[in-house]
């Protein structure tokens, strides 16, 4: 029997082309009882290999190919001897090996040794005792060992060996930065000696130390290399490896290896040096097959930064590195049967598997006299008093019972340490005033709630604890903590590192795999396509969620002008498909951390992450979970950062304290806003789909928000539960339960299952499942769904329902609910946690718009809308957004006081009254005109027509005559505004909060330069652009130009000027003045240049900042758009009327659940209108709909329940502006 003991998977990153599962699968097919996976310098693929092999009944041996440099420091006797030998060699031959290799002309294959594979002991070329063999790799003829680095295959025979291997790899990896070249981190003989216990060593293939030594110094040198390995690992742990890939030179090496093995009394071991599972793989729909060797060749090119045409002999010579059957291997080694027999013998020695990982979660240090459980109990009781102290007696009692039940289970499962560690992190965050909130299923736990980990009362909301933790599942619980993204989260992460040491905690990895664009780009590079073609090809790989059957890649290629019939293009296409899902490199998971009792590096190798101070394990979070390693997710949530920023901004600018834990729960203004779907910028409820649901659902209390968060999910949508729920809520459909017994579970969602907990409870009630069984059901239908598992569960479910007397029809209904829902539904606890954030964001936006908007802009990118849309939305709500100004802007957006003439209403309040309308307050701060129907465009006070050019001296300009020619385009509106301003001189001044855009919005401006501006400005205001350029030498010319283009330099000088004046001045300021004039600052003066037109300003704004605080581009075209309704007009038009709408496209969506329908969001100066594009119309106008920035859409208005959308039947391009407006596409 032959067992493959040397194979690499695609987790060797560009050195193998099959997934571990594929290797295990082939192994099982070939009836091979075991197999070893040795990825390069890591055990990256080991968990997947182990789990796949376990399922297939194959023993998975674990090892790694270690980069080894015997020439590095050594202190053992045998090594010393080798050193002497090397000195001797150097004396004999003064050139270095490298020099030798480069100066020697390459030999022909015929000049090198040749051996026999085919049953012959005769060799054409005899291996001479001192002859040197030019080592050539399987991928070519070139010497593979660089700087004396070889690859040493090591196999873990025991748990201790595995731990040694992990520590050895960790030591190597931590030697250099992430992605350090192998030579830099190579293991030394000392390293190997230190961690050699239990490890079995093979002499390696053409990359191995034996081959390297043979190449350097012939058979004697080879023997010494093997002796060194014997010295390190012990004679019984060294096997002389033989591979046969039908190469002559490999056979010559084999003969030398056999001779060395005989002379040293070492066993021979046959392997095939596997790099892929099978000779070919089917790709795409299976109609194409591509050789695995081809994929490996492509990877080789990528590793060496070559194209296929220039890679030459780096590529494989043939395709023999697949998993060969025992029979095939026996035939290959018919002359050396002992090499085959040794595989079985060695396999039997390798006792270690990943079942025996030895992971232990760290014990939390508790005071003397306590144990972890008693300590946890105390902390829980303290929390209980705080959380439920003022609750009703009934709730308190229920909560107490629940907590007792949970604590009992926690004790039984020995999880107290885990809860204490999470509690410890949360406590740290609270002490440091870092917002933190547990999410996910942890919110189902009353213990978590009591410990302050979560913010939702699971007892009060009657949440199902089993969704979080159950005895049957045999899994660790999963607690995810949401933290403000950015520095605060980093502080929490660093706290964990500090507390558990660098070797005790690490981030989980995130394996970056080949997906559409990455595959398209890299395959094109390898085939030698030029940059333009690469851009075009990778652009083809859209991320439309929906794929209609005709939307094949062939068709997309054809549309983009590429002919798939051309062989090279066809090969490109096949390669793109073949590499899908193969790992490319290791990244870092956004927040998953694993912690270990003792040394984590003996459980899994650790590596440095690209971020300084971070360490990452070699497994991703799924692998960690699969192997029973507990992780804590410290997730960065943009909205948490927004909320936290608001907590600082509000006291400072509003003089009020806000406590997120004690927000008024039933604020009518908030619900009013939600019911109008005026939710741009709010957490989870801002998307187009959410907005179209809100006016129908009309949330009136917190639980409605929980439902709202959960209902717009693929699960409820695919399960067709949205409409029944809304209809029942609106009283248009009677309540109905699949079975009367389910009424208690489904009553609060009106008979429609919306949450995962309901699904679990349905199974428990209807089919008599235990909590654990129900959770098993959810997982069976979850992300990792398997047909067989689902069938088994379904049978069990039906049997249970049958027992409980549920009719077949009801059974069908229940099963349909479960199967369609389980995949994408939210747990109720998770929805509740998110609903808290949604409510908080709605509350802050409603009451503290300036602070909320500033915080939202400072934490972009996040959410559904671009900053441009957020700014326009805030302006429509009456908030003044001031432009970037080097004399006033900080790096971040700030809240500024804005003096205005006597206003009767606070701006936020006035905004509330005009929500969802296009109205904005006038320059006087008077109540905003709500009359959109008059058809006139009323400019926002933040729009430039009222403020003079570029809004930079906002206060002065608000009361000064309009002088800026750039604003002349505003016509009559400007005139009336000026009139108003003159009138306002007699009014009293008040202040309002406004938002000043920060310098972070200047594209291309480095933070370092921006901060230098702020620093210098605080010492002395700039007097001219020349002065600015002199005092902030960090500023580069292109940065100055951008600042000038967006009007950020307009207020530097005291004279009235415009952006072109600044541009004119910048051009001189950026030129070196020469030594004579160096100390003399130039004064700014007006330029001979014309002011920018509105269009030019728009283009400059969007190009320089991605947004404009001026008028919306559509406002400039409104006069010409006769018969086109504005977004705000639609609500007054009856359902079914034909309408025309127009605007800039801010979002294009083609959800997978919408059967090919496309949803467009068009923004104009009054708001956002939605359009629905049928699949047919989309096909007819594909390019138009994808490429155009502005569209005019004609169709039928759907005005149902105050939800407005236009079902399009005609689409026209619209020339409005050439400004590049970002669109959020293809969700």
């Amino acid at each position: 029997m032959y067992i493959e003991l040397h194979s690499r998977s695609a987790f060797s990153f560009l050195e193998g082309s099959s997934l571990p599962e594929e290797l295990a699968g082939v192994c099982a097919q070939l009836s091979m009882p075991a197999m070893a996976l040795l990825d390069r310098d890591g055990v990256y693929g080991a968990p997947r290999f182990h789990l796949a092999a376990k399922k297939l009944g194959v023993r998975a041996h674990i090892g790694a190919e270690i980069t080894f440099s015997p020439q590095r420091h050594r202190d053992t006797e045998g090594i010393e001897e080798l050193k002497n030998e090397e000195c001797r060699m150097k004396c004999e031959q003064p050139t270095t090996d490298t020099e030798r290799r480069t100066s020697s002309p390459p030999m022909n294959a015929d000049q090198r040794g040749s051996g026999s594979i085919h049953h012959s002991s005769f060799s054409i070329h005899h291996w001479h005792r001192n002859s040197r063999l030019e080592t050539r790799n399987s991928a070519g003829h070139r010497p593979l060992t660089t700087d004396h680095c070889a690859r040493l295959p090591l196999l873990a025979a025991s748990r201790a060996a595995y731990q040694n291997l992990c520590r050895l790899i960790t030591r190597m990896k931590m030697r250099g930065p992430k992605d350090a070249p192998p030579e830099q981190i190579a293991a030394t003989a000392d390293d190997l000696a230190e961690f050699s216990q239990g490890l079995v060593c093979l002499t390696g293939d053409e990359h191995g130390p034996l081959a390297a030594a043979l190449a350097r110094g012939g058979i004697e040198q080879g023997r010494r290399a093997v002796e060194l390995l014997i010295h390190i690992f012990g004679r019984e742990n060294v096997y002389v490896e033989l591979q046969r890939h039908f190469h002559r030179e490999q056979e010559a090496r084999n003969q030398a290896a056999v001779e060395i093995a005989c002379s040293l009394g070492l066993p021979l071991l046959a392997t095939n040096g596997v790099s892929y599972a099978s000779p070919a793989r089917g790709v795409g729909d299976g109609s194409h097959a591509i050789s695995e060797r081809e994929v490996l060749d492509v990877f080789t090119c990528l590793r060496h930064h070559r194209t296929l045409d220039t890679a030459g002999r780096l590529l494989a010579r043939n395709g023999e590195r697949y998993v060969k059957s025992p029979q095939e291997m026996a035939r290959l080694f018919a002359d050396l049967p002992r090499a085959i027999a040794a595989t079985e013998e060695l396999s039997s020695r390798l006792e270690f598997t990943l079942n025996d990982l030895g992971y232990e979660f760290p014990r939390y240090p508790v005071p003397e006299g306590e144990n972890m459980m008693s300590f946890l109990r105390q902390r829980t009781e303290e929390g209980f008093r705080e959380r439920y102290g003022r609750a009703t007696r009934d709730l308190r009692q229920r909560a107490k019972r629940q907590i007792e039940r949970e604590l009992a289970l926690i004790e039984k499962l020995d999880l107290s340490g885990y809860f204490l560690i999470v509690w410890d992190i949360v406590s740290f965050c609270r002490q440091q005033r870092i917002l933190v909130q547990g999410r996910g299923s942890a919110a189902n736990s009353a213990v978590c709630y009591s410990l302050g980990i979560t913010a939702v009362d699971p007892v009060g909301m009657d949440l199902l604890f089993e969704r979080f933790l159950s005895e049957e599942r045999g899994e660790w619980p999963d607690i995810d903590l949401d933290l403000p993204s950015g520095d605060q989260r980093e502080r929490a992460i660093q706290y964990v590192y500090e507390r558990y040491s660098q070797r005790g905690a690490a981030m989980t990895a995130n394996v970056i795999t080949y997906r559409g664009r990455l595959a398209a780009r890299e395959m094109g590079k390898v085939l030698g396509f030029d940059t333009e073609t690469l851009d075009r090809l990778s652009g083809l790989v859209g991320s439309w969620e929906y794929k209609d059957p005709s939307d094949t890649l062939e068709r997309q290629f054809g549309q983009a002008g590429f002919d798939l019939c051309h062989p090279r293009m066809r090969k490109y296409f096949e390669l793109c498909l073949a590499v899908q899902d193969l790992p490319r490199h290791l990244g870092q998971h956004s927040g998953g951390m694993v912690i270990c009792q003792g040394q984590l590096d003996s459980v899994v190798p650790l590596e440095p992450a690209s971020m300084p101070g971070r360490v990452v394990v070699q497994w991703d979070k799924e692998d960690c979970a699969d192997l029973g390693i507990i992780k804590v997710d410290l997730l960065g949530l943009g909205m948490m950062a927004v909320l936290e920023d608001c907590l600082h901004l509000i006291p400072e600018h509003y003089g009020e304290e806000v406590d997120l834990a004690h927000l008024p729960p039933d604020d009518p203004e908030v619900y009013s806003v939600l019911q109008k779907a005026d939710t741009i910028g709010m957490f989870q409820i801002e998307s187009r789909a959410q907005m179209s649901c809100l006016p129908r659902l009309r949330p009136a209390n917190f639980y409605d928000i929980v439902v709202q968060v959960a209902i717009i999910r693929p699960g409820p949508i695919v399960g067709e539960m949205v409409n029944p729920y809304i209809k029942r809520r609106q009283g248009r459909e009677p309540l109905h339960y699949p079975h009367p017994s389910l009424e208690p579970v489904l009553a609060r969602t009106l008979g429609v299952p919306l949450f995962q907990e309901q699904l679990l409870r349905m199974a428990m009630i209807a089919a008599g499942f235990t909590g654990g069984e129900a959770e098993e059901l959810r997982r069976a239908f979850g992300f990792k769904r398997s047909e067989a598992r689902m069938r088994d569960i379904e049978v069990k479910l039906r049997a249970g329902m049958q027992r409980n007397g549920i009719t077949p029809e009801a059974q069908e209904e229940i099963i349909h609910s479960i199967t369609s829902f389980a995949l994408y539904g939210f747990p109720e606890s998770h929805a509740a946690s998110f609903a808290l954030l949604a409510y908080a964001s709605a509350y802050l936006k409603t009451h503290y718009l300036a602070a909320f908007t500033a915080a939202l802009l400072n934490n972009q990118p996040m959410g559904f809308y671009s900053p441009a849309t957020i700014v326009k939305d805030a302006q429509r709500h009456g908030l003044k957004i001031k432009p970037i100004d080097v004399m006033k802007s900080d790096w971040l957006c700030t809240v500024e006081q804005w003096p205005v003439a006597g206003s009767q209403l606070p701006v936020e309040q006035s905004a509330l009254s005009s929500q969802h309308s296009a109205t904005v307050p006038s320059a006087l701060g008077s109540r905003p005109s709500a009359d959109c129907s008059r058809g006139s465009v009323i400019p926002s006070e933040s729009e430039p027509s009222l403020r003079g050019e570029d809004e930079s001296r906002d206060l002065a300009l608000d009361f000064s005559p309009q002088t800026d020619a750039d604003q002349r385009g505003s016509g009559a509106i400007c005139q009336s505004a000026i009139g108003n301003r003159q009138f306002s001189r007699n009014l009293t001044l008040e202040t309002r909060n406004s938002v000043r855009l920060g310098l972070r919005y200047v594209k291309g401006l480095r933070e370092e330069a921006a901060r230098a501006i702020v620093r210098q400005r605080s010492q002395r205001p700039f007097t001219s652009i020349d002065d600015l350029a002199r005092h902030v030498p960090e500023l580069r010319k292109n940065e100055l130009v951008t600042l000038a283009q967006i009007g950020a330099l307009n207020s530097v000088t005291t004279v009235q000027w415009h952006r072109r004046d600044a541009l004119w001045q910048v051009e001189r300021a950026a030129r070196a003045a020469g030594p004579l004039l160096e100390g003399i600052a130039e004064r700014d003066s007006a330029s001979p240049l014309a002011r920018m037109s509105n269009e030019e300003r728009l283009v400059a704004d969007f190009r320089g900042t991605g947004l404009t605080v001026g008028r919306h581009p559509m406002a400039y075209r409104r006069v010409q758009l006769r018969g086109v309704q504005r977004a705000c007009d639609l609500q007054n038009i009856k359902h079914g009327r034909r309408v025309r709408i127009a605007g800039s496209i801010i979002a294009r969506q083609r959800p997978g659940t919408a059967r090919g329908f496309v949803f467009l969001s068009l923004e104009d100066e009054t708001g956002i209108a939605n359009a629905i594009i049928t699949p047919d119309l989309f096909e007819k106008n594909r390019l138009l709909l994808i490429r155009e920035q502005f569209l005019l859409i004609e169709g039928t208005l759907q005005n149902l329940d105050h939800v407005l959308s236009v079902k399009a039947n005609r689409v026209l391009p619209l020339q409005v502006s050439s400004a590049e407006i970002a669109s959020h596409d293809f969700h």
Partner: protein, 590 residues
């Protein structure tokens, strides 16, 4: 002192139309690039109206059925450019060869000959149209103003003296950029990119300033402009005002070395043809010698009578199949100054080679010999060959011998009516062999020997071998032989191991091989009787394959075998071509 500028818009398209006048009224796109990345290189106005733009792929362009597609032809462009120069030189002796699509003439004094400048401009346009090109013609007081007007205004433009700024005022500033670039970049090649970059930066700055036409640029204050854009900005402003005062960089009249003879009776044999060629060669060499020149390229063109089917050795030149290395070898001459970036990849349709006069500009492609053949009229066809020499020569006997060898290898195949012969003039070789260098054959003799060899074995089979980096066996190619400079003797490292030499059979011997239990047991090579017999020992198989991404992917299986026959035992290498299944004996081991 008036100057006229002739500018041909969409020049690559015009060059194609000139060769195929029937395309004049059609939407036409010119393609360039290597498959599968063929893209639209240039289009005419009608094609633009159909939505075809440069940069589109061929497939996209094909979507518009009204647009005719033609491959780009440097040859046609060179010819069109030569015609442009000819047209200009027929009016004035002082002509500047500004760019492929632009020439400028000095009209000083021509009024007496041809009348008013407006009339001259009209005549120029007519003359260029007669040459098959549609051009804009502009007349102004200085060359730059004339050029900018020609590039910016369609048809004929005459700018009265002193009205330059006014007339040029409406032109976009980027019209100035071409000329600005050429002047800024000067002759220093390494600076060209930097200067181009600088020009683009200035253009970007002007765009930011809102300065988009010449009038606005002309109105900017000079000192302030100079403070901001330096001298480059001032020069650009002068161009915008039409006040630059540069002198014309008049090109020398083309060195046209072409001889022809029209025969009273068709010549059918090579010998009398050689006699004629000898006469022509002597004339050519005499003319070259008189101007102290030599030649490195001879072009022969024959008009054949009633051309029958061309025999099989005509080199087929497929559309898009001409690779870059040929283009790199292409030499520029004084009369065809194509910018490097205008060359790109060339596609030469069969029809385009010889349907215009065999002129000095008819750049044929760059193999040592190239041939073209195509019927031109009902009764005759053309035969053309180009002879490229590795170094300048001036020996009519050598030339004659080379031409004879070429004609023997590629006979015209029909009686010859007319003979044209042209020589590419170049400076003669001025090198002297080193005193201590080993003797080597005279270059002329060496060239003759190589030509003879190539005539016998084929031109791809003679030269210096160059090893290629590939697993493919026989991994070398032959480059044109050129004696290398003597190298230091390289110290070969001692290789104490046993080395075995393999002597290759070229070509490999086809063989039939009997297999048993997966190994060869008997072999029979048809051609060499000694390679036949029982195999007493074998080693293998050795598998190799590669270049799977190309159409000529290969795979083979090799064996080393000992063959026992009556003559004794010998060690051979066999291989089986995996795609054909055919066995070959590749060589024998020493």
């Amino acid at each position: 002192m008036p100057f006229a500028c002739i500018f041909v818009p969409d020049f690559p398209v015009e060059a194609v139309v000139r060769a195929e006048p029937r395309l004049r009224e059609q939407a036409l796109a010119v393609l360039a690039g290597k498959p599968p990345l063929v893209k639209v290189f240039a289009v005419n106005e009608k094609a633009r109206d159909c939505g075809v733009e440069p940069g589109m792929t061929k497939l996209q362009a094909e979507a518009s059925s009204e647009v005719a597609l033609r491959p780009r032809s440097l040859l046609q462009e060179a010819a069109a450019h030569a015609a442009l120069l000819d047209g200009a030189q027929s009016f004035s002796p002082r002509v500047e060869d500004t760019a492929a699509d632009t020439v400028i003439l000095d009209l000083a004094g021509l009024e007496r000959l041809f009348g008013a400048v407006a009339g001259i401009a009209r005549d120029l346009a007519r003359r260029i149209a007669d040459l098959g090109l549609e051009a804009n013609v502009a007349v102004a007081a200085n060359p730059d103003a004339a050029m900018h007007a020609a590039r910016g205004f369609p048809g004929i433009t005459v700018i009265p003296n002193g009205k330059e700024a006014e007339r040029l005022g409406d032109l976009p500033v980027d019209v100035l950029l071409g000329n600005f670039r050429s002047q800024e970049s000067g002759k220093q090649k390494p600076d060209v990119q930097d200067k181009d970059q600088r020009a683009l930066e200035i253009l970007a700055t002007l765009d930011r300033w809102g300065v988009r036409n010449c009038r606005t640029l002309a109105a900017l204050p000079e000192v302030a402009l100079s403070e901001r854009l330096g001298q480059a900005g001032l020069r650009l402003q002068k161009m915008a005002r039409g006040t630059t005062g540069r002198s014309l960089l008049a090109s020398e009249p083309a060195l046209d070395f072409e001889e022809a003879v029209e025969l009273e009776y068709p010549v059918e044999l090579l010998e009398p043809l050689a006699f004629l060629l000898n006469r022509l060669l002597e004339q050519l060499c005499a003319r070259l010698s008189a101007r102290a020149l030599a030649t490195n390229e001879l072009r022969l063109r024959l008009e054949l009578q009633n051309s029958p089917q061309r025999h099989g050795d005509t080199e087929k030149i497929d559309d898009f199949e001409i690779d870059d290395c040929r283009l790199k070898n292409q030499k520029t001459n004084s009369s065809s100054r194509m910018n490097a970036d205008e060359r790109g990849s060339e596609s030469i349709p069969h029809s385009s080679f010889i349907n215009h006069p065999f002129s000095r500009n008819s750049k044929l492609e760059t193999h040592d010999f190239t041939d073209n053949w195509q019927p031109t009229t009902d009764n005759c066809s053309l035969y053309a060959r180009a002879l490229h020499l590795p170094l300048p020569m001036l020996n009519p006997k050598t030339f004659l011998k080379l031409l004879q060898l070429e004609l023997q290898a590629h006979p015209p195949g029909a009686p010859v009516n007319k003979v044209w012969l042209a020589a590419e003039p170049v400076r003669p070789r001025a090198a002297q062999a080193g005193l201590f260098l080993p003797l080597s054959p005279e270059p002329e003799k060496l060239e003759l020997t190589l030509a003879r060899l190539a005539g016998v074995v084929g031109k791809t089979r003679a030269g210096s071998p160059e090893v290629l980096d590939t697993h493919r066996p026989e991994n070398f190619r032959l480059r044109h032989f050129a004696p290398a400079a003597p190298r230091q003797k390289m110290e070969m490292p001692e290789r104490p191991g046993a080395l075995t030499a393999l002597r290759l059979f070229r070509p490999a011997l086809r063989a039939s091989v009997l297999m048993h239990a997966g190994a060869p047991v008997r072999i029979t090579a048809a051609i060499q009787p000694e390679v036949r017999g029982e195999i007493v020992w074998s080693a293998g198989p050795w598998h190799a394959s590669g270049e799977w991404w190309k159409e000529d992917a290969w795979a083979r299986e090799e064996w080393d075998v000992i063959l026992q026959n009556e003559t004794g035992a010998a060690l051979y290498r066999l291989y089986r071509n995996a795609s054909s299944g055919q066995w070959f004996v590749e060589g024998t081991y020493d």
